[in-house]
């Protein structure tokens, strides 16, 4: 059962046009946890002088990863939508590095799922950004 859920969530995320546009790749998704990577690309740049990726692209990655974590939770019957998301930007991501986002669904009720997420680049010990969010829990 859990494996099926993970598979469905994986297929759903992989079919999102915008996730494809930003080059997101699912690494792991299971049991309320998701890890999605976004390789560096020139079209994601927010500051042409430094080549640093735009915060908005990191937001999109965190949002997708959070949604994936919710969908893969054993207690989630089906789809989800973001209710709110707060992102703290700790530092600029190093140009050229792949961004790795990890999200975990920390609590889930019949209606709401709570998520925490972190994004890192090659320097794994210093997060680029962290996020907390609430997601809706929707029926199948």
């Amino acid at each position: 059962m859990a494996a099926d859920k993970a598979k469905i969530a994986r297929q759903f995320i992989a079919s999102i046009p915008h996730a494809q546009m930003l080059g997101m790749q699912i690494e792991e998704i299971d049991d309320g946890y998701a890890r999605i990577i976004m390789p560096y690309h020139a079209r994601l740049v927010g500051d042409p002088q430094t080549g640093v990726i735009h915060g908005g692209a990191v937001s999109a990655l965190m949002d997708t990863c959070g949604g994936a974590a919710v969908m893969s939770h054993p207690a989630a019957p089906g789809g989800t939508a973001t209710i709110d998301l707060r992102i703290d930007y700790m530092r600029a991501a190093t140009p050229g590095d792949t961004i790795v986002a990890e999200a975990r669904c920390t609590h889930i009720t019949r209606n709401v799922a709570f998520v925490r997420a972190t994004a890192v680049d090659d320097d794994k010990d210093n997060p680029v950004a962290t996020a907390t969010g609430a997601f809706s829990v929707e029926g199948t």
């Binding site: 999102i16 915008h18 494809q20 999109a60 997708t64 939508a81 930007y89």
Partner: protein, 170 residues
Amino acid sequence: MARRPRPEPVQQVKQRRDAALNALAGGVPYIQTLGLQFDRRGDELTGILPFKDDLIGNPILPAIHGGVTAAFLEMTAIITLSYQWLWEDVESGAILVEELERGELPRLPKTIDFTVDYLRSGLPRDAYARARVTRSGRRYSSVMVEAWQDNRDRPFAMATAHFLMPRRDG
């Protein structure tokens, strides 16, 4: 009786203000990736996000990706804040049009944090956003931003953000 100086030709005013906006938004690759545009009326900016298929985040509904919405809001906030921050220097001539047209600009504000509320699902059609700078400080600024589609009074997303401001004299 002292004569008032003649007002500047309108073309000159527009050229200067458009150059400032262009210098801020024109060179950002991610703005082009999303296809974002800005409409300027005096010092008021409106972000415009023309719909296209690769902005979809939920193919079943379909709905605009929450990340696109967040990026759209954040971009509108940061460009509006920067534009307002530069306004006086651009108007007074402290920053020259030629510099702007060459893309020479002071550094942009950095996002400290960004909180977005999703109020409705983003429909597959064009979206608009306007930001209001609620506090403009020497080091930090706060901005509120709202996005809507068909009806200005029914926003589909709103956000508040804090920014670290660049130093004035570099």
